[in-house]
Point group: C2
Chain length 161, copies 2
């Protein structure tokens, strides 16, 4: 089976081809912010109620596109998913999406808080969160192991809302 | 006809619902960077070869979602499309997409240049380009009318490549 090449040489198109569908960024968001690493967690905890056939399909295409890896299944457990470096680098896209959603759509306070913190934290927060994701998903130690974790701060803020 | 509400209260989901498909961001890119304002231009000049029924459908949904407006047709001319403020504010999403595409996919030099300039120009460039878009699409004068135009610099750089 040959894979068709990109529709054009445009860098924006390249990203749209990898992420431009109703669910890929939602799945990446849940892996990234919810640390949901199994098919089961991604399905049963989905705020948007993703269907299981769609989740299957998206996970397969995100692995094929180099945004996720899937670890081997072990006895009694399905494989677990991790972000690749390319997957971690979609964080600025998610932040830009969340910033737009805050400005132009309504939402629930609990879920807006996360987007507000990401929007207001700027490139600095994005870099710190990226370092944490590299630690969790790629096993790369953070430059400053004692720094407070952004992910925990996000989760606490959402819980308080 | 009632419109179903959003799938969840998440700000990221809100943006994905407006933009998460294979063509919406491509159309916005062409309106924004190519100043393509008519159905005909958007169709015939499409680098990705968008099909006419898909372009029709996307333009309708982008208008319904508040990202574009369509001016009345006049004698002998179809209506022309303009960005709304919400449409202009997708620019950071396009920049983030282009930055990811540059880092993780190949592309052609001519089209990479645009993404490189946007990536390297930072929030300052985004703000200046947004002001130019407000002038062109919303009739709002730029704060500094004498400042060189970003859009022209982008087009020249692409042409030199």
């Amino acid at each position: 089976m040959t894979t068709a090449g990109p529709r054009s040489g445009c860098a924006i198109n390249a990203a749209v081809e990898a992420l431009g569908d109703p669910w890929s960024l939602i799945v990446l968001r849940d892996v990234m912010f919810g640390n949901r690493r199994s098919f089961r967690e991604l399905l049963t905890r989905s705020d948007e109620g993703i269907a299981s056939n769609i989740l299957s399909s998206r996970l397969r295409s995100l692995v094929a596109a180099g945004l996720l890896t899937k670890a081997e299944s072990t006895r009694g457990r399905r494989g677990s998913y991790s972000l690749t470096e390319a997957g971690i680098q979609t964080l600025p896209i998610l932040v830009a999406m969340g910033t737009w959603g805050l400005a132009h759509r309504d939402g629930t306070p609990q879920l807006r808080i996360r987007a507000e913190l990401l929007r207001d934290g700027g490139p600095d927060l994005v870099e710190r969160l990226s370092e944490e994701l590299r630690e969790i998903h790629l096993g790369i130690a953070r430059p400053d192991p004692d720094a407070p974790r952004v992910a925990e701060a996000l989760a606490e803020a959402a819980a308080r809302a």
